[in-house]
């Protein structure tokens, strides 16, 4: 193992290299571009034995990966924002066809108006496409998550696609030391992809057949069942990762100082690191607060959230995106997960960091303060509550 100074994008590329991906198809988009540039370089230098193709759109990129994966290759692609939205049709296809694959997504705001800042609206709006979704908070976690994601999705009981996201610029373009496991260790954790491809030489079969109402529902239900197996399987995969590589990822919901907390804030991605610091500060001034990082958004970790809620009076959910006409996407899920438990905590939806707005400690302190005084469901657009800023930003 060796420490390398990597950006989040560098960590994605490094993980794809360690996973020995065989086919990479991508289309450039800011801020994803440096991932696929790094991979193009690795392929050119011979460091990675893979086929790299820059296609004419994200739609084609995902389709190339889908077909290659169906034929048994381990594939990788990465995108962001509009690129992910353009893939939408094929996102459904990937899960429906039971294609194990990993896609890096740099979370960026969607247009209009144009904006390239961090924002989860791109992946949140794809939550119903049958993809597993991970939201890491550091470059190290990006690398570890990509590697575990491959092992998870290629498991014969899962065979679903997964996206591993990174907050635009906060991770994608920010460098930190990353502990990069050596290739042999990774090989033992992640053996070559199961050769039982969907399409095999000598076995005539078809993909995308027409099905009537008699059969269609059965196929859909199989996807749902596979999704239900993801969280238990993830636990196995992460234990194996900890055993071989030595790092503990912590499952779908990673709590911090939640045991005796009156109020807990749920976060996704990079705001988790900031929230942990703010929890420490508030604790030292006697406020009983905690936080929990939602690492996996699909499948939604209902049980883990219910477990957390047993001891907590108030839950705040910090979404870096929005759903018009409803609470923040994660907040809605949390509320629904808690339905029916005895004396459930209140749930407040906070929206913050939209379109790349910085979410600093002072912003999270305001969130905690609001959470400690009110049980109103929200959603509260915290970015607009910063005095003076609304006018300044039009």
């Amino acid at each position: 193992m060796v420490f390398k100074v990597l950006s989040g994008n560098g960590a994605q590329a490094e993980a794809a290299r360690l996973a020995r991906v065989q086919v990479i198809a991508a289309y450039p988009i800011t801020p994803q571009t440096t991932i696929v540039e790094a991979l193009a370089e690795m392929v050119a230098s011979g460091e990675l034995k893979a086929q790299y193709v820059k296609v004419e759109s994200e739609h084609s990129a995902l389709q190339v990966c889908l077909s290659a994966s169906a034929l048994g290759a381990r594939t990788y692609s990465a995108t962001s924002s509009q690129g992910l939205l353009l893939m939408h049709e094929l996102l459904h296809w990937a899960s429906g066809q039971r294609t194990p694959m990993v896609l890096g997504v740099v979370n960026r705001a969607v247009a209009p108006p144009w904006n390239i800042g961090a924002d989860h609206a791109d992946t949140m709006s794809q939550r119903d496409t049958g993809w597993i979704q991970f939201y890491p908070e550091s470059n190290q976690e990006v690398l570890d998550t990509v590697l575990t994601a491959y092992r998870l999705v290629e498991d014969p009981e899962i065979r679903l696609p997964a996206m591993v996201t990174e907050d635009a610029f906060y991770l994608s373009h920010t460098f930190e030391p990353v502990d990069v496991p050596d290739p042999e260790t990774v090989d033992r954790f992640l053996p070559p992809k199961d050769a039982r491809a969907i399409l095999r030489p000598g076995v005539v079969s078809r993909l995308g057949s027409f099905t009537g109402p008699d059969h269609y529902v059965g196929f859909r239900h199989q996807v749902a069942e596979a999704m239900d197996r993801v969280l238990p399987k993830l636990q196995e995969v992460e234990s194996e990762y900890a055993r071989r590589i030595g790092r503990v990822l912590g499952g779908p919901l990673v709590g911090y100082r939640t045991e005796d907390a009156d109020a807990v804030l749920l976060t996704l991605g990079t705001t988790s690191t900031t929230a942990r610091g703010v929890v420490d500060d508030l604790r030292s001034s006697g406020r009983k607060v905690g936080m929990a990082k939602l690492r996996v958004f699909r499948p939604f970790p209902v049980e883990a959230v219910r477990q957390l809620a047993r001891t907590v009076g108030r839950i705040g959910v910090l979404d870096r995106s929005f759903t018009f006409g409803a609470l923040g996407p994660a907040a809605s899920e949390v509320r629904s997960a808690l339905y029916g438990i005895p004396s459930p905590p209140s749930v407040t939806s906070f929206l913050s960091g939209i379109g790349g707005r910085d979410v600093g400690p002072q912003d999270l302190r305001r969130v905690f303060e609001a959470l400690l005084v009110s049980e109103a469901p929200g959603p509260r657009w915290m970015d607009l509550e910063t005095s003076g800023e609304v006018a300044a930003h039009g």
Binding site: P28, K54, S57, W114
Partner: protein, 284 residues
């Protein structure tokens, strides 16, 4: 009163970018045509080149990557009295959006499409584009260089049914302005492909590269009404590359043939049922 076409927004292209020449030529063309700015709509996709509408005081629409042509189609169909100019890059119009470009040509909508063809993806910092030269080493082709045959936009436009097909060079804004004037005046789909070098990421197809190669079609007596001669000219590439008007033809535009527009632009028509469905209403 002097009409101002340029907006207060300063172009943010790299110093020396070919797109400055296109901006200058477009302004010259608008001036020559004496078009009121409120009757012009500039539509673009995404790319360095697609930032162009911000720099003009006309109507503007900065749409999705590769989707400028459908935006322009909607605008033109709603109000054919507007002058609609589409502007964008080679990646935008000949790559991700190529399908739209071909269908608009086939329909012969009265649009003018200016493609700032720099043979590279500028905005995403230097990947191969559909017009990149074979063998060109870019960030997406570091080992072998480009191994895909480049798109020939002018030949494609001819075969797709564009009725005005021209090529300009950013190093000659006067010629470009003249072609733009003709293209905007032309009733039907006008493609003006412009060599507009990316000085930052394309070190192969530079100003000097084009300057030493381009020659004007009118200097060799090319007949732009002859489609076969035009097609032959579109295949010329290498030491000598033609610029100017390759082809022009008269053909009814989509708007001319669309029954809903025979009483003029939709905004000027009375809303509601057209008069000839009244008997139907009575019947029911």
């Amino acid at each position: 009163m002097k009409v101002v076409y340029k907006s207060q927004t300063k172009a943010t292209w790299c110093p020396g970018c070919g797109d400055y020449g296109v901006m200058a030529a477009l302004e010259m063309a608008f001036k020559a045509l004496k078009l009121p700015p409120h009757e012009i709509v500039l539509v673009s996709g995404i790319g360095c080149s697609s930032n162009l509408p911000h720099f003009f005081k006309t109507y503007g629409f900065h749409g999705l990557h590769g989707r400028a042509v459908p935006v322009a189609t909607g605008i033109k169909l709603a109000n054919p009295s507007l002058t609609v100019v589409v502007a964008g890059g080679d990646g935008d119009g000949y790559g991700i959006g190529l399908g739209h470009s071909l269908h608009a040509m086939r329909r012969n909508l009265d649009l003018t499409y200016v493609v700032m063809d720099n043979e590279i993806y500028g905005l995403t910092t230097g990947q191969a584009s559909p017009t990149s030269t074979l063998g060109a080493k870019t960030k997406s082709t570091p080992l072998t260089g480009v191994i895909e045959a480049p798109v020939n936009p002018l030949a494609l436009a001819l075969s797709a049914g564009a009725t005005f097909v021209a090529r300009a060079f950013s190093g000659d804004p006067k010629q470009m302005a003249d072609l733009l004037v003709q293209g905007i005046r032309h009733k039907g789909f006008a493609l003006v492909d412009v060599f507009s070098p990316c000085v930052t990421y394309n070190h192969l197809n530079t100003f000097d590269y084009f300057r030493s190669r381009v020659y004007k079609l009118e200097s060799v007596g090319h007949d732009p009404t002859d489609p076969v001669a035009a097609f032959r000219r579109t295949l010329e590439w290498g030491e000598r590359i033609p610029t100017g008007l390759f082809y022009r033809a008269e053909r009814p535009t989509y708007e001319d043939l669309e029954p809903a527009l025979k009483d003029g632009p939709l905004p000027h028509q009375r809303a509601g049922f057209p008069p000839d469905v009244d008997p139907l209403k009575e019947f029911y």
